[in-house]
């Protein structure tokens, strides 16, 4: 292995193969190294991606224009109602505001928004610079709440105050401050789905499954959520946590403060989707619900086996590399690739936790490379070395894979097809096959005859 490309400080973030004692010692959940070209984002990013799918909320980004413009309509979270969240609002702080403080501008921006659009809820994101110049965003929001009788919720998300995971936490705090006043005593019923953002309509798939087995969904956090729907969340009897990285903190707070227990599930892959549905039915359902869950998952599994068998010969034995945001997704993907007869040779995450790596460690082969907070140089080196045929990642990884002549599947914001649930498995398999077996690859190697030039 070309050691030269890996910094000493980075070596603890990389583990080759599963360790025999069953305990993964990989370093994770810590700040990135300066100069290492991390693929990671910031606190604001974490907060924004969690809250943005609340469809009828106004998201005002308090800061210079960049933070708002880069997060304008990026998530691919679909809405069944309002499309408000797809606009970009900002205070567009300029030099004068930075010198004299941005509080007045923020208050004026809220005024302009309130007069123009009659909002129900406004989230105000405090970005890096607001943290430094010390605007009292809390006070401005509180004054606006009183003035207009609406919810104006500050989201403390200066980029430097931690990493993306910390932004998830700030978003969860904002959600708590939105829903806490709506908690009422009384019988609890149904479930909340936490940590699905309705990318390509995935939340709708999950809701349909739960409907199929007779489980009521109270609130979705935050995919396809609205002010009215999200404030009903305290009346649920169980929280289902899909994206553990972003939502475990909220689930814990809701358990402590509202008495709602939670279970972690994943809807990626046949195996995980099936066990998720059965576990949910077992947790809140009647024996009828459990029976329906089992019947449904069996029926869907066998439908899928038939539908997927045609890809067996195209994909069996291929090697996969995974570089995604959170650990839960990486884990599901390893299982899903195994079900497709493929081997995961490289697996990394941006924000995986020790317990995620523990599970990953148990799932992979002896020679698999495990990475936390990787950079493009490491990804390139390990993908080449391990002979990966496809990379699953996000927008920045796509051209890297293509340049290396490796197929690619987007499992992040830009996915156009749902990858969750049973139909998601079909979409995923089709995408993997389409990219690995594209006829374009055959033109990559240019035959050069002796005299030079193309062989015609």
């Amino acid at each position: 292995m070309g050691e030269m490309n890996i910094l000493d400080e980075r070596k603890q973030f990389i583990q080759i193969g599963n360790s025999s004692d069953g305990c993964s010692g990989i370093k994770c959940d810590s700040d990135s190294l300066s100069g290492a070209v991390s693929q990671r984002a910031c606190v604001y990013c974490g907060a924004r991606v969690v809250l943005n799918p609340i469809t009828d909320a106004f998201h005002i980004v308090h800061g210079p224009i960049g933070c708002a413009s880069y997060t304008w309509d990026i998530r691919g979270s679909l809405s069944s109602g309002s499309e408000l969240y797809r606009n970009s609002f900002s205070t567009d702080l300029c030099e004068k505001d930075v010198v004299f403080g941005g509080e007045k501008k923020l208050a004026a921006a809220i005024d302009e928004l309130a007069t123009l659009h009659n909002p129900k809820v406004i989230f105000v994101y405090a970005t890096c610079i607001v943290g430094v110049i010390g605007d009292d965003v809390d006070a401005v929001c509180k004054a606006a709440e009183q003035k207009y009788g609406i919810r104006v919720i500050p989201v403390k998300s200066p980029g430097f105050s931690g990493n993306k995971s910390y932004g998830y936490k700030m978003a969860c705090d904002a959600i708590m401050s939105l829903i806490s006043p709506c908690a009422k005593e009384g019988e609890k019923h149904g479930v909340n789905i936490l940590g699905d953002f309705n990318l390509a309509g995935e939340m709708w798939i999950i809701k349909n499954y739960l409907k199929e087995i007779g489980i009521d969904v109270v609130s979705t956090i935050t995919g396809d959520a609205s002010y009215d729907s999200i404030t009903k969340a305290p009346s649920a009897e169980l929280n289902i946590v899909q994206c553990a990285g972003s939502m475990t903190y909220l689930a814990n707070r809701m358990e402590e403060e509202m008495g709602i227990p939670y279970i972690k599930v994943s809807f990626f892959g046949i195996e995980d989707t099936g066990s998720a549905l059965v576990r949910i039915a077992e947790a809140v359902g009647t024996s009828d619900n459990i029976a329906r869950a089992k019947e449904f998952t069996q029926k869907e599994s066998s439908r899928l086996k038939a539908a997927l068998s045609k890809y067996d010969s195209c994909l069996k034995g291929k090697k996969a590399a995974i570089y995604v945001g959170g650990g839960f997704k990486a884990i599901s993907l390893i299982r899903q690739f195994a079900a497709m007869g493929m081997k995961t040779v490289v697996v990394g995450t941006q924000t995986g936790k020790p317990e995620d790596y523990e599970v990953i460690n148990q799932l992979v082969d002896k020679d698999t490379v495990i990475l936390d907070d990787a950079n493009p140089a490491e990804l390139e080196q390990f993908m080449k070395q391990m002979g990966a045929d496809i990379l699953v990642g996000g927008v920045k990884e796509r051209p890297l894979a293509y340049k290396l002549g490796i197929a690619f599947c987007d499992h992040n914001h830009e996915r156009k097809h749902a990858l969750a649930g049973y139909d998601g498995v079909i979409n995923f398999t089709e995408e993997v096959n389409r990219s690995i077996n594209s006829p374009v690859w055959q033109y990559l190697n240019i035959p050069t005859p002796k005299g030079g030039g193309l062989a015609l």
Binding site: A36, G66, E83, L93, V132, G159
Partner: protein, 454 residues
């Protein structure tokens, strides 16, 4: 979102809705990517550079590499000096560029990091360089960041050695790699010996080889940037983008310059060619005259469909003005010309174009946003929308044919491989504009008006 925009226009002073610009650092990165074997480095917290790389990747569908100082809370309290020192060392150790181009962010600017003196304190490996530019996000836009980074390179590197190199410096402005290729082609046809700076061609449109080259073949070399100081003259294309670096070079190295509009459309391209001719004293070659003739021919063929059609143009100041000039040449009426970038003189330049073609009822505005443009269109509609991808919602809401040009175009492929500058760029724009209008007609017309021949 499509129904958010009310028709009634009320003044806003604080709330920006749907911006028509973004912040300085992304422009600084794009500029630095146009320098050979240079690593752009963002001095601030990590999210900025992650967004910038994503944004550039989405536009070019190419890897956009840049490192970061990865500020944490400590750095933002005690200053980012040690982060920069570690960052620079790490970047040279693992990524081995020839040069690192540091740009600041709103965070490092506000805490008052003196990047220039940090750099002086760093022990650099032999033959390696670090340059920097101040690019606070709360000033200007991505265009400002682009030219500030150009100024940074010039300030650090360009030298007047008193031995003239006889070359022309060409500053291409904030354009796509294909535009730069086209400018280079035109300059070569005019037999000019030139230095293109910056030059993202071959970097942000590198060919597929099966290898990932962190530093592809393209880009202005360090030697060329140094040598800018010995150039006979600089052609600064796009006054809002290239004037400032031209001024900096003039002050530092006494190189005279001519500031021209981006060569979009016939008149602007003619002006570029004539300036080249003035310098090289070469005749315009027949091949180039033929190219121009082909463009005029096609514009004539298409004029019936374009003449008198009203169009809204938006984007970066120089791009928007170039496009405005070209649609006027096609006989269209640029009813609204909008840029989000704060620019003194933008409105005046646009008004000069309106006067030149004697069109009435047109308005131009800098520091505007797309919400405002949408409101204007709701009150008085246009026949065509011409600008970046962010216009697509307006186009859909109001059912207006839409042509994408400028930065960013996030929702189409291959656009950055075709120029909009030069005569060839004019051909492409004519095709795009005419086809968009015709497609709309075909989609909407009565059956009896539908004709295979148009």
């Amino acid at each position: 979102m499509l129904n958010l925009t009310p028709k009634k226009i009320t003044p806003r002073t604080a709330l920006r809705v749907n911006p028509c610009k973004t912040c300085q650092p992304v422009g600084a990165i794009y500029c630095a990517l146009g320098v050979h074997r240079c690593m752009p480095h963002s001095h601030g917290s990590q999210g900025c550079v992650s967004y910038h790389r994503t944004f550039l990747t989405r536009h070019f569908k190419e890897p956009a590499i840049a490192s970061t100082s990865s500020f944490t809370e400590g750095a933002s309290v005690f200053g980012g000096g040690s982060n920069l020192k570690t960052g620079v060392k790490n970047v040279f150790d693992i990524y081995d560029p020839d040069m690192i181009a540091v740009h600041t962010t709103c965070l490092s600017e506000t805490i008052g990091d003196d990047v220039g003196s940090y750099i002086m304190d760093i022990d650099l490996p032999d033959n390696k360089l670090v340059v920097h530019a101040n690019t606070p996000s709360y000033v200007g836009s991505h265009v400002t960041g682009f030219y500030n980074m150009m100024c940074g390179f010039i300030n650090y590197l360009s030298l007047n050695t008193k031995s003239p190199n006889g070359k022309i410096g060409i500053f291409p402005g904030f354009v796509n790699p294909a535009d730069i290729r086209e400018m280079k082609k035109l300059a070569s046809m005019m037999k000019a010996s030139f230095i293109m700076f910056p030059d993202q061609s071959g970097v942000m449109d590198a060919p597929m080889t099966g290898n990932y080259e962190m530093y592809p073949k393209g880009g202005t070399t360090k030697e060329e940037i140094i040598s800018l100081g010995d150039c006979a003259k600089v052609l600064a294309l796009g006054i809002f983008t290239s004037l400032e670096p031209a001024n900096v070079l003039k002050r530092k190295c006494k190189v005279p310059y001519e500031a021209l509009p981006l060569p979009i459309g016939i008149a602007n391209t003619d002006q570029f060619i004539m300036e080249l001719k003035k310098i090289t004293q070469e005749e315009v070659p027949p091949a180039l005259e033929e190219e121009r003739g082909r463009l005029v021919d096609v514009m004539l063929d298409a004029h019936f469909y374009c003449y008198g059609k009203e169009v809204a143009v938006f984007g970066d100041p120089d791009t928007a003005l170039g496009l405005t000039s070209f649609v006027l040449e096609l006989g269209m009426i640029p009813k609204y010309v909008i840029t989000g970038t704060p620019s003194d003189g933008f409105e005046k330049k646009a008004a000069e174009l309106f006067d030149l073609f004697q069109v009435e009822g047109c308005m131009a505005k800098a520091s505007a946003d797309l919400f405002e443009l949408h409101q204007l269109i709701k009150n008085e509609p246009v026949d065509l929308l011409l600008g970046t991808s962010y216009g697509k919602q307006i186009a859909k809401a109001e059912n207006i044919p839409f042509v994408r040009a400028g930065f960013p175009v996030l929702d189409r492929y291959a656009h950055s491989y075709f120029p909009i500058v030069g005569y060839l760029g004019g051909l492409r724009l004519t095709e795009l504009i005419t086809c968009a209008l015709m497609d709309q007609f075909d989609r909407e017309c009565e059956d009896e008006d539908m004709d295979v021949v148009m």
